[in-house]
């Protein structure tokens, strides 16, 4: 089980409303990612679910039971913190055992679960070390181990990978995804990194200034961003957004076109311009193109071996099937 429902949940710190009333439903077994720029309220939302912050207004239900005023310990949730929050004075074994000790689980059962968790997380050789003697990735795994032995109804992750270096982050991302496949337990995961969100999530919740901008699967958000914010936030490199007379031709206030949805030609096209900076990744090449009559350069993707260089003239044509149109209120036009 692991069904979480928020109804009219609102959070104020003093006079400042960080989360205006919102509704959200997380289905059992889903991997849900809260994503947004820093300060968007995603961590606060997670902490409201955890019970580490009190809800100002509204109702939190976990597995159909109202949990709004339950203390964190009673919510049957496990959390992995950004700093890992391992107990520095306890060995890895004791760290992992701590929640079971609190739950008064029998000793032999504790042992069994610790052994299992250590095997799954490759921690067997480190059980008697202190957290201070472990690397960042190992600490991360201990924190996850401490969470899984409780067999919670849902896992909460608060930016768990942001303290790891880039290579390790990719590895841990896969490990967490695999863990989710194996346990099939609900996971709520907070990150500011849209790549993490796209690669891991079943459902992404895009937050901005405390508001939910859009909820959907990664591909839904990619194909049909419901507003300008989501359009600009999801996708890498970012979608090109063009306002003004060019957009007006499409009966929109702003149009958006992803770099991968622009056809490039040396001879003819809808727009023409000169190539500025280019980034060669081998498989792809990205050009920044200064278009005549546009203030901002456009980013376009072409294949890796194209023979164009800095200063060359280039012609671009947006793929009409993938053109996004937005009105003056930044909402998507059908």
């Amino acid at each position: 089980m692991g069904h979480i429902r928020l109804t009219g949940v609102k959070k104020c710190f003093g006079d400042v409303m960080v989360i205006p009333p919102l509704d959200l439903e997380i289905e059992d077994g889903e991997f849900v990612v809260f994503v947004g720029p820093s300060g968007c309220g995603k961590s606060t939302l997670l902490r409201l679910i955890a019970g580490l912050e009190d809800v100002t207004e509204g109702v939190v239900e976990i597995d159909g039971i109202e949990a709004t005023s339950l203390p964190p310990a009673k919510r049957r949730l496990a959390m992995v913190f950004q700093s890992y929050a391992l107990y520095p004075h306890m060995s890895v074994r004791k760290n992992i055992a701590f929640p079971m000790k609190m739950a008064r689980i029998p000793q032999d059962e504790q042992e069994r679960r610790i052994t299992d968790a250590a095997r799954v997380l490759n921690l067997t050789d480190y059980l008697d070390r202190r957290p201070g003697q472990l690397s960042g990735g190992q600490r991360q795994r201990v924190a996850i181990g401490r969470a899984i032995v409780r067999e919670p109804s849902a896992f909460l992750f608060d930016e768990p990978l942001s303290n790891l270096d880039a290579a390790l982050r990719v590895g841990m991302r896969l490990e967490i995804s695999e863990l989710h496949k194996r346990l099939a337990t609900t996971m709520v995961y907070v990150t500011h990194d849209q790549v993490e969100a796209m690669t891991m999530a079943d459902q992404i919740v895009v937050l901005h200034a405390g508001r939910i901008e859009q909820v959907g699967s990664p591909l839904e958000l990619y194909r049909e961003p419901s507003n300008l914010f989501v359009a600009g936030f999801i996708g890498s490199p970012k979608m090109n957004l063009i306002a003004g007379p060019v957009a007006a031709k499409y009966n929109a206030h702003t149009i958006g076109i992803r770099p991968e949805h622009i056809d490039v030609s040396a001879n003819s096209g809808l727009w023409s311009g000169t190539i500025g900076v280019s980034e060669h990744l081998g498989s792809d090449t990205f050009f920044r193109v200064n278009i005549h009559g546009l203030d901002e350069p456009l980013t376009v993707r072409t294949d890796g071996e194209i023979g164009l260089r800095y200063g060359d003239t280039i012609h671009l044509t947006p793929n009409p099937d993938h053109l996004h149109r937005f009105d003056a209120q930044a909402a998507r036009l059908a």
Binding site: L52, A73, M102
Partner: protein, 277 residues
Amino acid sequence: MARSVTTARKTANTIVAGALGLLMFFPVLWIIILSFKTEGDAIKAPLEILFNTGWTTESYGTVQARSNYFKHFSNSLIISLGSTFLGILIAVPAAWAMAFVPAKRTKDVLMWMLSTKMLPPVGVLVPIYLIFRDLGLLDTRTGLVFVLMMINLPIIVWMLYTYFREIPGEILEAARMDGASLREEVIYVLLPMAIPGMASTVLLNIILAWNEAFWTLNLTAAKAAPLTAFIASYSSPEGLFYAKLSAASVMAIAPILIMGWFSQKQLVRGLTFGAVK
């Protein structure tokens, strides 16, 4: 990245710094040497003392026999330990509340507490002396325990506060998520993490109380005099007394020197009130 330096440079550094260090340490070293000499030898020329005299422990015996040294030693022990532990007892709840349930005024209260430490003792010497006289606290260990507890209380509160504040909030939240009740959170997580800081605080305050030499000199006579006051009695000596003074001094500073070496870091933290990090 630290860069490697040439061995010659490192050797030169070692020699210069070693010489200066030795120079600073020399007076302590010298009384250790003199304390193992006879009175007659102790006033000879330094080179002669070093190379041309025998060693003896008789001064240590004489100090105890003539003046009941261990009474003063135990006075020092009782006064410094007593004032420190009493101070800890009062300071822990205060520092705890300031660190974990800070209110709007917390910072002001803390600042005010520190400011009391800056009151010159001589400014309140007369009233304290008279109050102690009227309450019969002059020349008692109880009186000194109280006074030293009061003058060190701001430092104790301050140090405990900084140590408690270093315990990351996420760890306490993790314990809460792991199902710990408030009581379990305190016993299993908070206390074990707070104990090293409390130990450092105790250490530094024992040192400060042991060496305090304004109130101990002014509020004691014979009975409750700790070592600071006892040593001061050597300022009007008769006859030869260098070896005895050395022996008494070595015994008075040895325990604190050893503790002091362990508490260098806490010294900076405790005596600068966090103004230097």
